[in-house]
């Protein structure tokens, strides 16, 4: 049973466009949602995160939109650059939790 789901599995956008990556979860105790970026041969690196008390978190070109009622969130990458080409993982953890539950990832390709 996949507790954190991501879509699409892969996404291609042109340079300068906005990429939208989706994530949904099942466990209502999850209250912390980090997004990790991973390049081939490297470990995941935290990109941006949000807690369930907020509905939006912005950091430069990266924005998380969070809908607690629907248990959905999305990562928007504006003005996409070729260097953004990577795999993006949505993760979640519960209050007083520690282990991260990861989604299956979205592979993003930004065409120049």
């Amino acid at each position: 049973q996949q507790q954190v789901r991501q879509s699409p599995q892969s996404l291609t956008v042109w340079e300068g466009e906005t990429a939208i990556l989706n994530c949904s979860y099942e466990d209502s105790t999850f209250n912390y949602f980090p997004w990790y970026q991973q390049f081939p041969g490297e470990g995941p690196a935290l990109l941006i995160s949000i807690r369930s008390v907020s509905d939006k978190k912005e950091d430069g070109r990266f924005t998380i939109f969070f809908n607690k009622r629907e248990k959905k969130l999305s990562l928007h990458i504006t003005d996409s650059q070729p260097g953004d080409s990577a795999t993006y993982f949505c993760a979640a953890s519960a209050d007083m939790g520690y282990k991260l539950t990861f989604g299956t990832g979205t592979s993003l390709l930004v065409d120049p």
Partner: protein
């Protein structure tokens, strides 16, 4: 700050052999996590130490897998009698103090069991 260090970066073992993977967390971090990454299963939590004490090993396979943290500067993941299905990238992460602090991942150890 060198980040989380994992050694070796690549390891090839024969079926039935033992594999020991090493992790050096970021200095000052009190929490250490181990995850496993495969194409089929994705990123899976294995085990977690806090201040060197084992807190949660609920993700560890019940047989053949063990993890230790003998001191604050390193942790090991040991797989006995390795099987081809153990082939994966094993990732170590560390975080500062709070259970929800950012987890910083190492580059991983790619284990291939022939």
């Amino acid at each position: 700050n060198a980040g989380v260090i994992q050694t070796p970066r690549h390891k090839v073992t024969g079926k039935g052999q033992e594999a020991t993977l090493w992790c050096e967390p970021i200095s000052g971090h009190s929490a250490v996590f181990w995850y496993r990454q495969t194409i089929v299963q994705g990123l899976e939590f294995l085990t977690y130490f806090r201040n060197q004490a084992p807190i949660d090993d609920s993700g560890m396979p019940k047989e053949r897998f063990s993890a230790q943290m003998p001191n604050q500067s390193h942790s090991t993941l040991k797989i006995q009698s390795t099987q081809p299905q153990d082939s994966a990238v094993y990732l170590c992460a560390s975080s500062l103090e709070s259970v929800q602090d950012t987890q910083y991942f190492g580059p991983g150890t790619r284990l291939l069991v022939l």
